[in-house]
Amino acid sequence: MSVTEQLAAYFSDYRGEWPPALFRDFFVAPPYFRKLEEKRPCLLIGGRGSGKTTSLRSLRFDATSERLQSDGLDSKTLPYFGVYVRINKNRVRAFQGPSVDADQWDRAFSHYFNLLASQELCRLGKWCESNSIPTPNLDVVGDSLCVAASRDCDELNRNITRSLVALETWVNNPSEQTKPLFSMPESPLKYFCEAMSECGALQGKIVFVCIDEYENLLDYQQARLNTYLKHAEPPLSYKIGVKKNGLRTRATIDLADIITAPEDYNEIDIGVDTTDDFVKQVVEHRLELAKQRGVDITTDAEEFLPELPIADEAEALGCLAIANDILLAIAEVDDAPLLEWAQGIPKTSLYLAKYWAEGEKTDVVAQVRDWKSKPSVWSTRLGNYGYASLFWLSKGRKGARIRKYYAGFRTVAALASGNVRYLIELIDESLQAEGGEGDEWGGFVTPKCQTLAARAVGRRRLEQLESVTEHGASIKRVVLGLGKVFFEIARDPVGRAPEQNAFVVAGEHSEQLKLLELLQQGVAHLALEATPRTKATTQSEMKDDEFRLHPIFAPFFEFSHRKKRRITFQAEDLLELLVHPSKAISKLLTERAQTPLEELPQQLALFSSFYGPGPKP
């Protein structure tokens, strides 16, 4: 097995959830973890792959025990007892419809949640039993769940399953079937905690009920569980995982009462609370693990994923030919001192004169003269426009395999934008690209392989957009449209500020609201990122947000992944992407000339039927 194949084993877990044993090996506590472990209820907000589920699952009793063990501590001395409940959309959506009134559905759902959480508590009880921790008397718990008397956790679990089946029969035919006895909201959970406390298992510790995928709940169901969150008291506390914008209501069952942070709970936004240091730690921890197990590899993330300096990248993208053309042009005007001066400028900088001349629609020799007379202005210009000009270099390089590089640990981390799953996927794909090169591996991922991997991951994520939500098809159309617009802007510097890759929305209020609903969905599913300029508590306030495509798409569409300057788009033009993409893109680009379809990069050419004019009527 090659080194890259051996190493891939440490970076291939993004495809699914970790089996319990991997928690011990791979888990790196994120910066917000201490806050999550506090006794207070907590709302953990993050997109798919942000590490939300990993963090919540790591609070579960078995994962906590594994971590204690790996730290050389007694695995039974848990600081808290966590249980984990995942909300399954296909099941919670059964509790709706006109067959019974809203109050009955609410009571039925509360009972269902009690049963689900109690099943997990039974598993906790069983774990306590096998670890010689006192186990609670379950009589009262069983009574409060309205199930038959149970001697132990196993029997209670079986009785809960029977109760779930009875509830299933009722929800499938509520007008005819006899309604089962419903347990009181939250009551069995409280009784279980009391019983744990009475038997001496808790000893002042807290029981965390971790509820994941909260966005799957219907609004009234969120209001029900919001109520538990608001009124949680020790020894019971709630830790809730939800996608961005997935908490659709802050209401409780008492409509006048809403949940607010920090009064009722701690709010952790993974995107905000995840630092570059943390993602570096995640990578270096795995490299270290691989090294310990015999893989000959650096443990420094920046050595492992080296950067490509701007000058080297400019050279790789063909700036030398442009610089040579500039020197020829100077030679033709017979200005020997200017030629001598220009020859002293590195060719990896000199090409900027041509970039600037194109932007200003002036003669390139005049620009070189200007440079000679105002060196400090051009030095600043190089700093401001050097990176942006790399995208322009790709113009006319039809068929080139790489038209812009995305390399270096900091770039890879920026593309992932705090999303650990993306980060790991980028590295795994890079290793696969290295493996495909066939040459002897140098112990680091080359900029070329990093770039090819970033493009492949961007494409995969783009393809996946359609299937992450019921609005996926519309979101993908918006991403394809915006991606093309930013691709064109990046390549055409004329009259533009460098690196425009964010946008705000203007236009008719009703159109804005319609669009913002879609953009919010895009943010929730990592198609877009939003920077709020006001606290986003209502949809109307969202209109002040600044949006950008998620940077994971930047290598696919070949625009800058760096968060820079913004542009204003009309809501109606963005909405038109859903029906007439070609027309909409023209409008968004204010009718500027676009790259001919046959000159599009290969990866964009795949979507030529989307970008093209469409069939004639």
Binding site: R15, G16, E17, R48, T53, N88, K89, N90, R91, R93, A94, G97, P98, S99, Y112, T161, L164, V165, L167, E168, V171, N172, N173, P174, S175, E176, E213, N216, E463, Q464, E466, S467, V468, T469, E470, H471, G472, A473, S474, K476, R477, L480, H580, P581, S582, F607, S609, F610, G612, G614, P615
Partner: protein, 306 residues
């Protein structure tokens, strides 16, 4: 006419002589697809008007029917109300062609429990509408959007698997490649995935379209080796294949996504009714596009109970 359970009869242009004269006929009123209402039903309305139940409209929770000129609305979770459509009859034909899954699936359940002889019918379209500006290899334009994953009425399963790691996901594939992936994505992680493709298809090229459109689903879930085939128009062959898959995974809990052909969806519903303990249907509730199909093909008459 004798048609044992599990057998199918096929007609290019069925007439009233091809259906049981003493049966009740349940079908949709004219929809936006030509195949949603067969010429056969017009004959039934003309010659046997008292034996007709016309489904006038439906939404996610209820269905409005017209019987002998009288309309009434029934909740889809009201098994008694649905059974009432078949009351007084021992034989029924249910045409699923123009009906949403949310409507015909609970009717299949009630029909099987209340009738002596029960047939489902399905009319193939001649072709499907293509998308004017496709964003992927899925070239067809069949849905306006999706209601999201939710149980089909009367098919909610609450207990779930005893052991989530001993579960499998089976998608019955159609032309909209995003659908299988969307449903699968609601399970995180996706268990071992299988795909069922209609082969032979309604047209020779259709199986290839289905595979191409679902390439991402197959790749993401490493399911290329787990593709199975059953005739696109045969629910019973679909049931057999599902049983085979289950046999390969003894005791496994099967998540079943009927997002392919309607006959396959019928097979999935029947399989789920036969295996309630370890099968859970997952459906994405598409909003069907107007004029999504063109033309009228063969009619299949499936004997569900005899």
């Amino acid at each position: 006419m004798t048609q044992p359970r599990g057998k199918t009869r096929r007609y290019d242009a069925p007439s009233i002589a091809d259906v049981d004269a003493s049966a009740v006929y349940v079908f949709s009123s004219h929809g936006t697809e030509p195949r949603s209402r067969s010429a056969l039903w017009a004959e039934c309305i003309a010659q046997r008007p008292d034996q007709v139940v016309e489904i006038v409209s439906s939404d996610s929770a209820s269905v409005t029917v017209s019987i002998s000129g009288t309309t009434s609305t029934i909740q889809l979770l009201d098994a008694g109300g649905l059974t009432g459509l078949f009351r007084g009859w021992s034989t029924a034909y249910l045409d699923i062609s123009g009906l949403a899954h949310t409507v015909w699936a609970p009717l299949v359940r009630t029909g099987l429990t209340s009738l002596t002889k029960f047939y489902a019918t399905y009319v193939e379209p001649e072709e499907y509408k293509r998308h004017p500006s496709p964003t992927s290899v899925s070239q067809f334009d069949l849905s306006d959007g999706f209601g999201g994953v939710a149980p089909l009425p009367t098919f909610a399963r609450l207990p779930g698997p005893v052991d989530e790691s001993n579960s499998i996901f089976v998608a019955l594939l159609g032309f909209e490649g995003t659908r299988a992936r969307f449903v699968a994505n609601s399970l995180d992680p996706v268990p071992t995935a299988y795909a069922l493709v209609g082969l032979p298809g309604f047209r020779p090229e259709y199986p290839q379209y289905a595979l191409m459109s679902n390439e991402e689903f197959l790749a993401e879930n490493k399911a290329h080796a787990n593709v199975r085939y059953a005739a696109a128009g045969c629910p019973f062959e679909c049931m057999d294949v599902l049983a085979d898959i289950h046999r390969e995974h003894p005791g496994a809990y099967m998540y079943l996504a009927p997002v392919g052909t309607k006959p396959h969806a019928l097979g999935a519903i029947l399989y789920s009714l036969d295996n309630p303990q370890n099968t859970e249907l997952m459906y994405d509730h598409p909003q069907r596009k107007q004029d999504r199909t063109r033309g009228v093909g063969q009619m299949h008459i499936y004997s569900l109970k005899a």
